[in-house]
């Protein structure tokens, strides 16, 4: 199944784009999507312990199962304000 991946800030720069389409197996979790990205761009591993996930624009645990058409976002540590 296909999901849309959104990346921000340093993650976006490392991957060279803010929106990607990726095929993932049924039952895949947010963590599985992240691991696939790290396999593509190994320097993302630096964010392994600090990245947060969101599904369809809401925070989601890395253990959340994703569904066809979901927008899965990865957020490095935030710095608004």
């Amino acid at each position: 199944m296909r999901v849309t991946v959104k990346l921000f800030a340093r993650l976006r720069e490392i991957a060279g784009g803010d929106t990607l389409e990726r095929d993932v197996p049924a039952g895949a979790t947010v963590a599985d999507v992240w691991r696939a990205l790290v396999a593509e761009w190994p320097t993302l591993v630096a964010f392994d312990t600090t990245v947060s996930g969101a599904v369809n624009a809401e925070y989601a645990p890395m253990s959340r199962t994703v569904a066809e058409g979901d927008e899965v976002a990865f957020l490095p540590p935030v710095s608004g304000g």
Binding site: K6, F8, A9, R10, R12, T50, S52, A54, A57, E58, Y59, A73, L75, P76, P77, V78, S79, G80, G81
Partner: protein, 160 residues
């Protein structure tokens, strides 16, 4: 009616944020407190040329609404509005405006401090600082709105 929670590339309008907070009030307003975040001309000894703010725009308003719910739960009857700027900002520009409105000043002040601490903890916004001699992505809090320890820390700061 002015939106309560937005992220915008346009210059922020403090009066509109105040109207939004007051319009949302469910009790007579006796005090408002306004916080404005301003881009500093220097940070950690380096002169700032500009900041680039990036945001997850469809998520920001939801997170701000969540912060407002937390405020209403802790300081009942205190309403709030939060507008954040995105894009290129220069020293002196306003990056964020938070207005809290309440029957009494104590709640309005405390809730306002809480709001900016929570924005810094969980708003999906990133700051890219550009100096005369380089640039850096500012990486602050590890984001997650269900991090109860972080929420309690913000509450502690607000009530200090």
């Amino acid at each position: 009616m002015a939106p309560r929670f937005t992220a915008s590339h346009a210059e922020l309008d403090g009066a509109a944020v105040e109207r939004a907070a007051c319009d949302a009030a469910t009790a007579p307003v006796g005090a408002t407190v306004t916080f404005k975040g301003i881009v500093r001309g220097a940070n950690q000894g380096r002169r700032v040329v500009r900041l680039e703010y990036e945001g997850y725009e469809t998520m920001i308003a939801r997170v701000f609404a969540r912060i407002a719910e937390e405020i209403d739960a802790h300081w009942p009857g205190t309403s709030s509005a939060i507008h954040h700027r995105l894009g290129t900002l220069r020293p002196g520009d306003v990056s964020v405006v938070i207005v809290t409105a309440s029957a009494h000043r104590a709640a309005a002040y405390a809730a306002n401090r809480y709001a900016i601490e929570r924005v810094k903890q969980i708003a999906p916004v990133w700051k890219h600082e550009h100096f005369e001699d380089g640039d850096v992505w500012v990486e602050g809090a590890v984001a997650g709105e269900d991090d109860e320890a972080a929420r309690l820390k913000a509450l502690e700061i607000a009530c200090a």
